[in-house]
């Protein structure tokens, strides 16, 4: 019987080797800070913002995977739908961003419920592969429907005036839409935490996740709870889609593109751990933004130009994943590893 707990940080188990790694990372960051202080601050804040975007997208996936045991490959498609519903509401129907921010996620939630009721609910007791394949099929269907309805060309909506400028944070400037995304993401994380950990509803869901049959015997209406959790996961994906679509634009491949990085976040954080997804999202965000800077500073200091690998940024999430899984196959805070 495992004695680990999803609530312990797991860092106490790190060996002296682990401490050395952390020390080395801290040293590298200090070098970068010393060489380019202004840029370091910019990138640090940028990494935080990007990380929170990843958290928002990964959270819904993490909920559905952790609670329902379904690898919801369609999560990326739901995210994409959030963006396209935003386009429909804002660009085609002329509604304001704030309406889209509320309505689009609810519509995505509805699509999520349909998915769960029509398909996935029948697969809870099947091997995980069945759910994964079904979700994958749904993802393709949604993607093709999106193509058919809104076309292949990348689209965008005008960022609402208040969010279109940059925000001056004294140490750096950040696009306001990004900052807004961070605030929304933080609220969503907090809300999900409170719902799952601090409410009776959340408690009954957690119980059902551990032993659905027994929870049923005890009189807990699990099907209704699963639908609600699926709705919630889809709504969160939709919120991510609205914000991403407004900040960056939408294309039929955005779902595919994001589902991968989202899996990386969930795996690094540890399957089944919401907290892990949050930490992993921030970690990867920071790593993506700071690694190139650190390498460049290091190249400056040592004079070894080869250290500043061009284009390393795109590889960083996967490097982080490999490193974390090598040290902790179950991810940072996971119960059972994907790889164990």
């Amino acid at each position: 019987m495992s004695t680990s707990s999803s609530r312990t940080l797991g860092l106490d188990r790190l060996s002296a080797g682990g401490a050395a790694v952390w020390g080395a990372i801290a040293l590298l960051l200090l070098v970068a800070l010393a060489v380019e202080p202004g840029l370091f601050v910019d990138q640090f804040v940028g990494g935080l913002v990007y990380g929170m975007t990843l958290v928002l997208i990964a959270l819904g996936l993490s909920i559905i995977l952790g609670l329902l045991g379904i690898v919801n490959f369609a999560h990326g498609a739901l995210f994409m739908l959030g963006a396209y519903f935003t386009y429909q509401l804002m660009a085609l129907w002329g509604l304001p961003f704030w309406v889209a921010l509320v309505v689009a996620p609810l519509l995505v939630g509805l699509v999520g419920v349909l998915m769960e009721r029509l398909v996935l609910q029948w697969l809870y007791d099947e091997p995980p592969l069945a759910g994964l394949l079904a979700a994958f099929g749904i993802a393709l269907m949604i993607q093709e429907a999106t193509r058919a309805i809104w076309g292949d060309t990348p689209l965008s909506v005008a960022t609402p005036a208040v969010l279109a400028q940059s925000a001056d944070l004294a140490v750096t400037t950040v696009a306001r839409i990004r900052l807004f995304s961070v605030v929304v993401a933080a609220l969503v994380v907090l809300g999900v935490y409170l719902l799952i950990e601090r409410t009776d509803f959340g408690l009954s869901v957690r119980a059902g996740v551990q032993d659905r049959e027994m929870a049923g015997f005890l009189g807990i209406d699990m099907p209704r709870r699963f639908v609600l959790m699926f709705f919630l996961g889809a709504v969160i994906a939709g919120i991510g889609g609205v914000l991403q679509g407004t900040a960056v634009g939408m294309s039929p491949t955005m779902g595919q593109q994001y589902i991968i990085i989202t899996f990386v976040v969930v795996v690094v954080g540890g399957i089944g751990s919401l907290f892990g997804s949050v930490v992993a999202g921030l970690l990867i965000g920071e790593a993506v933004f700071l690694t190139p800077l650190v390498l460049r500073s290091l190249a400056d200091v040592t004079g070894v130009g080869a250290l500043a690998v061009p284009g390393i940024g795109g590889l960083v999430p996967y490097l982080v994943m490999i490193l974390v899984l090598l040290v902790r196959p179950r991810g940072l805070y996971g119960q059972e590893g994907f790889m164990e």
Partner: protein
């Protein structure tokens, strides 16, 4: 119907066209109805089946419909003007080159196409072009990569799109003329690395400086960290050597992040990818090198015909597809044959005189024998003010500021590394 077309052809040809018409009756360099005699004499119109390879799925799917529209317009004009009947078979190049290759094999062996065209990314062009050449099928592609007219060139493969090198050299010169300190963002794959080298050397040769550069992942949609790098440098201009949709995202994010004073230069910009942006964001592009743009003088009614016929507003791929079909069929008619050898003989060294030349503004365009490049002018353009952007009946967002003759920026035959 033939009457109208005849008139249109005459109108379109202009002064240079008359010379061309005069030539058509005699010289092999001319184009026109006369020289297709071998087939027309005995069996009625010459019959040609053209295979078009177009991306209808995958990352390039947004471009797909434009290839077909451009090709069909050309066929319409050709059939009206020449004694020829052109059948069109359309194939999806799928998302990967091997899917495209399968389609090419099927097209040639099962469907019996006479020659092929289309393909917009270099990996697809290389794959299907190589196979076509190996099997004696003539193929005109639209890849911009230099390797297609370098180490990967093929005896029966031709390219209608201005090369990456030509575009990068043009934008590099423009950049140096515009402002002094540049930051270069380039896509982290072969195309981007090549462009970065060419642009950097063009900028420096013309007296300006590249103060910093970053390779950006592709595809990518968060450019914040690169924008941070730009903002923290001494640059007053930023060059985007990034494929279209990503470049438009980068521009939008610069605007959102408040980096609005900086000069933006974009290499090989296809305005279609900017049409998804709002006017204000698109208006931030100061200088761009383009293979074609619908505000070129002399484009005539081509824009209206595209707008009527297709789902996409007129942009470079319409013009290039039109040109491909126009040149391919005319060469076959002149040769009286669709054999790859015969078409090659017709195309090599041939100077374009048809409507394809007019829609490109009338500048010199010719098929270079050494690498099978259709040497064409490169257009420099700038985005209009947001308020001046036209959306109906089709979008016109960019204006031409300069036209650089192809010969000024094309690599010399020796530099290409192609030995045809």
């Amino acid at each position: 119907m033939p009457k109208i077309t005849r008139r249109r052809a005459l109108e379109g040809l202009g002064a240079a066209g008359i010379a061309g018409l005069a030539g058509c009756s005699s010289g092999p360099g001319g184009e026109g109805s006369g020289s297709g005699g071998t087939t027309t004499g005995s069996t009625g119109p010459m019959e040609i089946t053209l295979g078009l390879f177009t991306p209808n799925s995958g990352a390039f799917a947004p471009w797909g419909p434009s290839l077909e529209t451009g090709t069909r317009l050309a066929i319409q004009d050709l059939e009206n003007e020449l004694d020829v009947s052109v059948g069109l078979e359309v194939y999806d190049t799928k998302t990967d080159p091997s899917g495209a290759l399968d389609a090419m094999k099927r097209a040639v062996t099962a469907d019996g196409i006479d020659f092929a065209q289309g393909g917009i990314n270099s990996s697809v062009c290389t794959k299907i072009g190589t196979w076509a050449s190996d099997n004696n099928v003539s193929y005109i592609g639209q890849g911009a990569s230099d390797s297609l007219r370098g180490e990967a060139c093929q005896p029966f493969m031709y390219m209608v799109y201005q090369t990456n090198h030509m575009m990068a050299t043009t934008i590099g010169r423009e950049m140096a003329d515009t402002t002094d300190n540049w930051y270069v963002l380039y896509a982290d794959y072969v195309w981007g690395h090549n462009a970065e080298q060419v642009v950097t050397s063009a900028v420096e040769e013309n007296g300006a400086t590249v103060v910093g550069k970053d390779a950006t992942p592709f595809p990518n949609d968060d450019y914040t960290q690169y924008i941070n790098n730009v903002a923290n440098s001494d640059a007053d201009g930023v060059a985007l050597l990034i494929p279209g949709p990503d470049a438009s995202r980068a521009v939008k994010q610069m605007r959102n992040q408040g980096l609005t004073d900086i000069t933006i230069g974009a290499q090989m910009l296809e305005d279609m990818v900017f049409w998804g942006l709002d006017h204000e964001a698109a208006a931030m592009v100061d200088i761009a090198s383009m293979g074609w743009v619908n505000t070129i003088d002399g484009v005539g009614d081509f824009n209206d015909r595209v707008a009527e016929a297709g789902e996409l507003d007129p942009f470079v791929r319409h013009a290039k597809s039109y040109t491909s079909a126009d040149q391919h069929v005319r060469a076959a008619v002149r040769a009286g044959s669709t054999r790859a050898e015969d078409i090659r003989e017709e195309l090599e060294g041939h100077e374009v005189q048809s409507a394809a030349k007019d829609i490109h503004g009338g500048g010199e365009m010719y098929w270079r024998a050494c690498d099978h490049e259709l040497v064409s002018p490169v257009f420099s353009a700038t985005a209009r003010e947001a308020s001046a952007m036209q959306d109906d009946p089709y979008k016109q967002w960019f204006d031409v500021t300069d036209t650089t003759p192809g010969d000024d920026v094309v690599r010399s035959c020796e530099e290409t590394g192609c030995t045809l």
